[in-house]
């Protein structure tokens, strides 16, 4: 009897102190915004910029490694700020004229503009709600795309901001990832 009571006592003490198992299951911190939609979402605007100056009634194309801070808007909403693909200027026959290095051959600066979020500045649940409700959701239809400005390097290494004021239609088709909106010759004042 004594042994039974002692066992009962020990079992009682140990089991009464057991914590209920609320084992957590943890989630990974992978947290980029992603979509599980099966349709292809539109997310890229592509175009080519060809800045030039006119010298003696002849076009001279600006030679630079890239253009950057290219500012795009779609239907007046900021799409993002981008840098063009880089150009290997060492392979190009160029000469300095005025503020620029220029070439007689066409210089093409290709811009691939994927919609950017202002994620660095998001701090509240409401802002994230706006983001995931609007991010990458340009639905099929017609839009207006504006190239507001970009920066280009002068031959003295200074930066010049150019305002091309380009406004073109942007057509988003069903189940398409990107749209090429054109090649733009942009005259700069020397």
């Amino acid at each position: 009897m004594k042994n039974t009571l002692l066992i009962l006592l020990l079992v009682g003490i140990f089991t009464s102190c057991e914590k209920e198992d609320n084992s957590p299951y943890t989630y990974s911190s992978e947290s980029t915004i992603y979509s599980d939609s099966e349709t292809t979402m539109f997310k890229e605007i592509l175009f080519i910029a060809k800045p030039y100056i006119v010298v003696n009634n002849q076009k001279k194309y600006i030679v630079a490694e890239y253009i950057n801070n290219v500012s795009l808007k779609v239907n007046s909403a900021i799409w993002g700020t981008f840098q063009s693909l880089t150009v290997d200027t060492a392979q190009i026959d160029k000469e300095p004229i005025g503020n620029y290095f220029v070439s007689n051959n066409e210089m093409k600066y290709s811009v691939i503009a994927s919609q950017q979020s202002e994620k660095d500045t998001l701090t509240t649940a409401g802002e994230y709600s706006d983001l995931i409700n609007n991010f990458l959701t340009l639905k099929p239809g017609d839009y207006i795309c504006q190239i507001d400005f970009f920066d280009i390097k002068l031959q003295n290494a200074q930066i010049k901001r150019v305002y091309p004021m380009i406004t073109v239609p942007l057509v988003v088709k069903e189940n398409v990832k990107s749209s090429f909106i054109g090649e733009f010759e942009i005259e700069l004042k020397n």
Binding site: M1, K2, L5, L6, L8, L9, G12, I13, S16, C17, K19, E20, N22, P24, Y25, T26, Y27, S28, S29, E30, S31, T32, I33, Y34, S35, D36, S37, K119, D120, L122, T123, T124, A125, G126, Y128, S129, L131, I132, N133, F135, L136, T137
Partner: protein, 115 residues
């Protein structure tokens, strides 16, 4: 002897009685669903649409382990897109407290992958 052991048994049971607190979460963020809502290590609810409130989760632990303090983590989901977030603030649950955490548009959150 038998009486002493029985008394010790009940003293042991009483001395190790757990503390409890209750917690629930409301989603007042516009136009999103909150999924896999966890308060620290405790899963509170699987899914909450805007305006919905979770069932109360009872958290039971040894005496002396309260108050417990944790942030709230969840997936914010809408239109097939989702992002993993944690609240910037931590919420404290005391023993015998019924805590309601309300997530609103102005609740400050962190995206761990952007740290």
């Amino acid at each position: 002897m038998r009486n002493i052991v029985i008394i010790l048994f009940f003293v042991g049971m009483y001395g190790c009685e757990n503390d409890k607190g209750k917690i629930k979460v409301q989603n007042k963020v516009h136009n999103v669903r909150l999924e896999s809502v966890n308060w620290g290590e405790y899963p509170v609810t699987y899914s909450l649409i805007t305006g919905e409130e979770s069932n109360e989760l009872t958290i039971e632990d040894k005496q002396g382990t309260f108050p417990k303090i944790s942030d709230l983590s969840f997936y914010m989901v809408s239109s097939g897109k989702r992002v993993y977030l944690k609240t910037k603030n931590k919420y404290q649950l005391d023993a015998n407290q019924n805590l309601t955490i309300v997530i609103t548009d102005t609740t400050e959150v962190l995206n761990p992958s952007l740290k």
